[in-house]
Symmetry: C2
Subunit: 289 residues, 2 copies
């Protein structure tokens, strides 16, 4: 017998992973949740059939969403993670002794439950005493918060289905208000390569540019995501992602990482020419840097 | 009817592309050559079933193999391209007015013929008067050359089949001798992600380190190659790839590119921690930088 999971990166491009067995399958109020075991990637989680993480390459995504802003902000104490019910971003954040409180706002309780049972590699720090989980819509959660967080990580699904609201101008505007005067917002921002992904990426960038004075994009290699070329947005009120990097201080922490390092941090903001072009096309209100 | 091309990135990971039609299929003395037309990637070339290039993303590979060394070497006049019968690397090199001679050594005459007929996007500059094509084994070609080239680009297939000899210590040693005293060697060096690719990448790096005083690795996002995370080797006798970058001079040339730019040039040499680890593991004879 052969069992294969296939994700359509586009209608004309399929990415297929050989599966040993399905560990979990459930339908929550919000989405279908599946967890598989595979010989190449270990366990992997899909939501509505879309790849969220694999044990083999989740380190890239989670290190890049957490350590990039943490190495820039000199004293991030209160952090909000929106989405990210798998616990991977929280795991990286709990490694910082200076972080005092991590609020995780995940709309789907069933995702957290399934990950705690089947994905201990990412969910391992959800019981840290600094972590507070709220099962709520992130869009609604940030609406009434004012100047509370040093850092917000938007660890969302794609911009359709339950994650759709996390790509709106209203949401980014509310994140701005929920951040302190030197706060940073980081979001997963899709891929620049295939057309539909690129359009979503541009739309997110345009909206963030309208909400934040500083807005830059950085990249990483994530083999199990569409095209393998993934982008993150870095938006902030005060700190610039490269110029204000505290490399020495971050390196003094002595955190062992597999993808992130402070040299790569700088390089990740140097984008291909065509990606710069896609971003500039939607930056009519670009601020002076 | 649906027609799909599938490449096995590993035994357990398949990458599939919807095909409109097969434009060409031939068996040369060395390998099977196929060219397809697809809705997502335009035309694409495979050798023995392995993806060589697609019209949609070949710009990444060809810009990164050609412009990185050209932006470092201040006066590259004589260039040798080994492999690269599709003409993509040659196309980028012919854009430099300072390049006086490009010798293309391609083992398989049938590849050049098929690309000239079906892939004009890459083969379009093979008729440039500065280009001289030799249908020979690259390993044998470089054996008797002494101090002739400013730049050698090894645009090879994978390290098995006809390309195998282009990953040997003997070959790199002969490239060293074929280069002038300030010459640069750039080679495509596989991917760090899946185990078999990573082992090939390490083996190549180890051998190059033993042949050249300066040996560094840089990366690019190539969606249609295994894992999308691709590496190139930069080896030289004198110039360091980042410190000796002539950004101003390169930008004065005014070459329009879609992937390469001089800021990305620097960033491309900042590798993920696990890739640095793979490289260091095989660098027992590492030189002082």
């Amino acid at each position: 017998m052969e069992l294969w999971f296939t994700e359509k990166h586009t209608e004309n491009v399929h990415f297929s992973i050989k599966v040993d067995r399905q560990l979990y399958s459930g339908q929550s109020e919000f989405q279908r949740i599946d967890i598989f075991e595979s010989p190449e990637f270990g366990r992997f989680l899909t939501l509505d059939g879309f790849m969220m993480l694999t044990e083999k390459d989740e380190f890239v995504y989670h290190e890049m969403i957490a350590h990039v802003p943490m190495a820039v902000h000199p004293h991030a104490k209160h952090v909000l993670v929106i989405g990210g019910g798998d616990g991977g971003a929280v795991r990286e954040l709990t490694r910082y002794p200076g972080v005092e409180r991590i609020d995780l706002v995940e709309i789907d309780r069933e995702v957290v439950k399934a990950c705690k049972t089947y994905l201990p590699q990412t969910a391992c720090r959800l019981d840290d005493p600094r972590v507070h989980i709220y099962y709520e819509d992130g869009l609604r959660y940030v609406r009434d918060i004012r100047s509370e967080y040093d850092l917000i990580l938007v660890d969302s699904t794609d911009p359709f289905g339950p994650g759709e609201g996390l790509f709106t101008k209203e949401f980014y505007g509310n994140c701005y208000k929920a951040l302190r005067e030197d706060g940073i917002l980081v979001n997963q921002q899709e891929s620049p390569f295939y057309r539909n992904d690129a359009v979503a990426m541009q739309r997110a960038h345009q909206r963030i540019v309208q909400s934040f004075p500083i807005s830059r994009v950085y990249q990483a290699h994530i083999p199990t995501y569409s095209s393998g070329h993934w982008l993150f947005g870095f938006a902030s009120k005060k700190y610039r992602p490269v110029e204000d990097l505290n490399a020495e201080e971050w390196n003094r922490l002595g955190l062992a990482t597999r993808y992130y390092n402070t040299k790569l941090h700088i390089g990740a903001f140097s984008l291909p020419t065509y990606v710069n072009g896609l971003l500039e096309k939607v930056e009519p209100l670009k601020e002076e840097e």
